[in-house]
């Protein structure tokens, strides 16, 4: 344990953690645009700076470890001025289209500018002027909105391990690029959207089928049904319609998803989707209740088993089922029907 003083109050905290971690645990809010606790500290946005007594310059709380006896100021005038300057600089090189930006309401730059009272970018001069990369079917990349926090690049590298994107050029001309800046469609991007999930601003946004504002939606946490991993997702629901998916933190996926879970949700509202069992009557499929369907299945299985025996059955289950469902399926085949003819599509 270490004793530290933050904003003139003494606290006992675990040694070995960063100032940012300590503040998070103590409920002291520190702004940051580039930090993600799953990634290596990066210390690029400089928004999380704090004053540490005895240090000449401000220190980034995300990359400074607690030391016993440390005295920290997280919100004094010097710190606030530095944060304002950073926000002002960022916003001076950012499109001023918050009214129509898809990210409005969920944008960290917007939130912090509001919190710190930065009403406009006061620096006039050169501004980013890049083409928008629309070539990926699932998301859009607008480099003009990018604040170069590097999160997308680091998620793709450190967590997703695809390394589809990197930083190109230098200094003011830095840009998140695919190899040779040829565009997303040419890269080895697997469209997992994990970069989109971490982008704090509107630079990486999902392509939407439906317009919605962040404040219009409810988030419903559920388990992704595409495979047995059980990734936790949040369905974005507007009215009674699912309009998007975001990965949830925690086990097992900790904020990551694959392309299916992330972008493959439009089947939910598809007109071809079956919402009730169908039974063929007089050559035509007709909607039925589950009771009717179960009764029919039981009848048919009993009939066939009697006439042709257990070995006449074969069962194939799906990777989209959970472990528990797969267990029950094989149990039904082995114990009830009496055959070992049962398999699973993931083995094929």
């Amino acid at each position: 344990m270490a004793e530290i003083t933050i904003n003139a109050k003494k606290y006992q905290v675990n040694s070995g953690i960063t100032i940012l971690e300590a503040c998070n645990r103590l409920g002291i809010s520190i702004p940051t645009l580039c930090h993600d606790d799953r990634l290596e500290p990066y210390a690029a946005c400089r928004l999380c700076v704090v004053e540490v007594k005895g240090k000449k310059n401000l220190q980034t709380s995300c990359s400074t470890k607690i030391r016993d006896g440390m005295v920290v100021e997280t919100h004094n005038k010097r710190v606030i001025n530095a944060r304002k300057e950073v926000l002002d600089l960022l916003f001076s090189n950012h499109p001023e289209d918050c009214l129509t930006c898809e990210k409005a309401g969920g944008c960290k730059l917007q939130d912090y500018c509001y919190e710190y009272g930065v009403e406009e970018g006061t620096y006039v001069g050169e501004k980013k002027d890049y083409h928008i990369d629309d070539s990926n079917p699932f998301y859009t990349y607008d480099p003009n909105k990018c604040i170069l926090c590097g999160k997308c690049v680091r998620v793709c590298d450190e967590l997703q391990c695809t390394n589809a994107i990197g930083l190109g050029n230098r200094g003011f001309d830095s840009k998140v690029v695919t190899p040779f800046d040829l565009g997303l469609a040419t890269s080895n991007c697997v469209s997992c959207g994990n970069c989109v999930a971490v982008c704090p601003v509107g630079a990486l946004t999902p392509k939407k089928k439906e317009k919605y504002r962040t404040w219009e939606i409810r988030k419903v946490k559920t388990t992704c049904s595409y495979c047995g991993v059980g990734c936790q997702i949040e369905l974005l629901v507007k009215g009674d319609k699912v309009v998007g998916v975001e990965p949830a933190r925690g086990t097992p996926n900790d904020g990551l998803l694959c392309v299916k879970g992330r972008f493959g949700y439009s089947f939910i509202n598809h007109s071809d989707r079956l919402k009730a069992p169908l039974i063929k009557r007089n050559g035509e499929f007709e909607e039925a209740t589950w009771e009717e369907a179960y009764d029919l299945i039981i009848d048919k299985i009993s009939e066939i088993k009697e006439e042709y025996g257990s070995e006449s059955f074969a069962g194939l289950t799906s990777a989209r089922c959970t472990n528990e469902e797969n267990y029950l399926f094989q149990k039904m085949f082995r114990a009830l029907i009496g055959t070992n003819n049962v398999d699973h599509c993931a083995r094929l």
Binding site: T18, P41, Y42, A43, A44, C45, R46, L47, V49, N57, L58, T60, C62, S63, T64, K65, R78, N81, A82, E85, V86, L89, L90, S92, N93, Y123, V124, G125, E126, I147, L148, G150, G166, L167, N169, R170, G171, F172, D173, S174
Partner: protein, 631 residues
């Protein structure tokens, strides 16, 4: 091959004989070597430093050899050595015995030198260096003002030995320090000498080398690394290059000593690819050291192994920053790391690593052989030893000088540098390159060491020293350095990436007459914010040129924004060309003006239409009577 100390001494003895004459230079004219051993051959020493090399040192050597052959002279040796320092007057050559100093020697001068000096012992006066004649007396090179106040430790062998000859390095005590460390000293003892000497890093930050080594030594790990930082990105600085090119073994030896001290068996030299000559000479040196067993396995028969590899940098200034440098060696984009771990604990590939600058390393071998007290007897308490400076700008003797720490700026600029040329007046000196500041005349008597320069708003940096005269506009100087920084910012952190660009834009506006008084406040607050919150030294020091010029030359900034006037008469867009009544009406200006904006009849005073004028200055150049002025 395994080398022993006896073998080393044997090489030394044998080689020294052929070098004795040149040692006059090293010992300021006193030949300390037993005369019996002296070879009586004459020696032509040609400067192969960066400047002289590109102006044809190799051809000079060839021509000398041909002519000497032709004259059938058998008692003359010719060799090329590293930088002599006085680049301004190159190509330079010296002839021994005597140390006669010839400058600006052209290929066609060689025959005359051979015929007169070498055949008949007649000095070719017209080719003598300007500083080598005083009141008709011919002075040897070591008495020339430029050299008199210098004291050479890092450059001790530059300009004397043949850089490609490991034997000549050994002859001047080369590899003795390594032998001593390995066979007579413990790791702790090596570190102790380094700590006591208080040698401070010459790469810019001035961190005590011994303390750094100790930190890495004490941190246990299965692998440790020694890196020589030869990125030298400071515009105008070329001391590291000169050491690598002129005395590569001194760096290799020091790296091995560091490796022994901290317990590392692998060194890397990170050198910019724009230094192909240095790279080539390093490669040769590493190969020869390996052949002799001075690098490799079981050096001097001990358990100690050490190998050195070269890594090429692509020439980004930021890659000289230690953590960006390691990222680059690891094959990643050269961007500084957050300062969460110490490099001496977790550096290259997460292992304890020592990064030292070339010049720092070049100081190490003599400290080991001569001891900590010896170094502390030179320089100041705060900064023992010497520092090499690259003198440039408005100064007579452009070149490389090594002086004891504590020498004043005045001594360096006026006594050694020869002052300001063309009768102009000294205005300021910029030290420390783009991370440094401008120092005005009132501080000329400041002794140069780490602390004193810091106090007056500049830094030692890597030793760039650019002298400015009264025609230099200080706003424009700040703009110039910032332009460099903006280009070289890696783009990782916001204050540096976005902030320096905005600062540059403001300065550009001011130098174009479009600045406002509010811009000055803006510059000040922005400078503070960038310094206070940037990630690495590049951003943290980027505002220094602006801050120091605003501090000492605020009136110039104010003249630009309030009166739209450049007091130094340097900002083109703020100037107006004007024809005075001296005009004789020759029409030359009107005929040459590319914008055709000068009117006037023959033999009558001409007039410039200032609205149309593009301020190219042609009229001023062509006017035969000096009637065109700018104001």
């Amino acid at each position: 091959m395994m080398i022993t100390i006896e073998m080393l001494n044997e090489i030394k003895k044998k080689t020294l004989k052929t070098m004795t004459l040149r040692l006059e230079k090293k010992n300021n004219g006193i030949s300390s070597i037993n005369k019996e051993n002296v070879s009586d051959k004459k020696h032509v020493l040609i400067c192969g430093g960066p400047g002289c090399h590109s102006s044809g040192a190799d051809e000079l050597k060839k021509r000398f050899e041909q002519k000497i052959d032709k004259e059938e002279l058998t008692d003359v040796n010719v060799s090329i050595a590293g930088c002599f320092g006085l680049c301004e007057s190159g190509p330079n050559i010296e002839i021994y015995p005597g140390g006669t100093f010839y400058s600006q020697v052209k290929i066609d001068d060689v025959d005359e030198i051979v015929e007169k000096h070498l055949c008949r012992d007649e000095v070719v006066e017209r080719l003598l260096n300007e500083g080598a004649i005083k009141e008709e007396n011919i002075k040897p090179v070591f008495e020339v003002d430029f050299y008199k106040k210098q004291e050479k430790i890092a450059l001790r062998n530059c300009g004397i030995i043949d850089y490609n000859s490991i034997d000549e390095y050994i002859a001047l005590d080369g590899y003795q320090a390594l032998a001593k460390a390995l066979t007579e000293m413990t790791q702790e003892e090596v570190i102790d000498i380094m700590k006591k000497s208080n040698l401070r890093g010459r790469g810019g930050a001035g961190f005590p080398t011994g303390r750094k080594w100790e930190t890495a030594f004490k941190y246990e790990a299965d692998k440790k690394y020694v890196i020589c930082n030869a990125d030298e990105g400071d515009p105008g600085a070329f001391m590291d290059r000169s050491i690598l090119e002129g005395d590569p073994h001194s760096v290799l030896e020091a790296m091995a000593i560091c490796g022994y001290a901290i317990g590392s068996d692998q060194g890397y030299i990170y050198v910019r690819a724009e230094y192909p000559v240095a790279v080539q000479r390093l490669k040769t040196a590493i190969k020869k050291a390996k052949e002799k067993g001075l690098l490799g396995e079981n050096i001097f028969g001990t358990e100690f192994n050490f190998n050195i590899e070269i890594r090429l940098g692509a020439g980004a200034f930021v890659c000289g920053e230690g953590t960006a440098l390691m990222e680059s060696i690891e094959g990643k984009r050269g961007m500084p790391r957050p300062k969460i771990n110490r490099t001496a604990h977790k550096g290259l590939w997460g292992k304890p690593t020592i990064i030292n600058n070339v010049e720092t390393l070049a100081n190490v071998p003599p400290i080991i052989t001569k001891g900590a007290k010896w170094l502390k007897s030179i320089g100041t308490e705060d900064s023992p030893g010497t520092k090499v400076f690259a003198l440039g700008g408005k100064i007579k003797n452009t070149g490389l000088v090594e002086v004891p720490m504590g020498t004043t700026l005045r001594e360096i600029i006026f006594d050694i540098g020869g002052g300001i040329p063309n009768g102009k007046k000294f205005k300021a000196v910029q030290t420390g390159g783009p991370s440094g500041g401008c120092i005005p005349e009132e501080f000329l008597d400041t002794p140069v060491d780490f602390a004193s320069l810091g106090k007056i708003g500049s830094i030692m940096g890597s030793g760039g020293m650019i002298v400015l005269d009264d025609t230099d506009c200080m706003v424009d100087i700040a703009r110039f350095f910032l332009d460099f920084t903006v280009d070289e910012s890696c783009g990782k952190c916001v204050p540096c990436r976005e902030g320096t660009k905005r600062m540059l834009e403001i300065l550009e506006r001011i130098t174009k007459g479009k600045g406002t008084p509010e811009d000055l406040d803006r510059l000040e607050s922005l400078s503070e914010a960038i310094t206070d919150s940037s990630l690495c030294g590049l951003g943290q020091t980027a505002s220094n040129p602006v801050k120091s010029t605003m501090k000492y030359f605020r009136h110039e900034y104010e003249a630009h924004v309030k009166e739209i006037r450049c007091p130094a008469g340097s900002c083109q867009e703020l100037l107006q060309f004007f024809i005075t009544d001296k005009c004789v009406g020759c029409t030359k200006c009107a005929n040459n003006c590319p914008a055709s904006c000068i009117s006037g009849n023959l033999k009558e005073r001409h007039v410039i239409d200032t609205e149309q004028c593009i301020k190219c200055g042609t009229c001023m150049e062509v006017c035969p009577v000096g009637a065109v002025i700018k104001k």
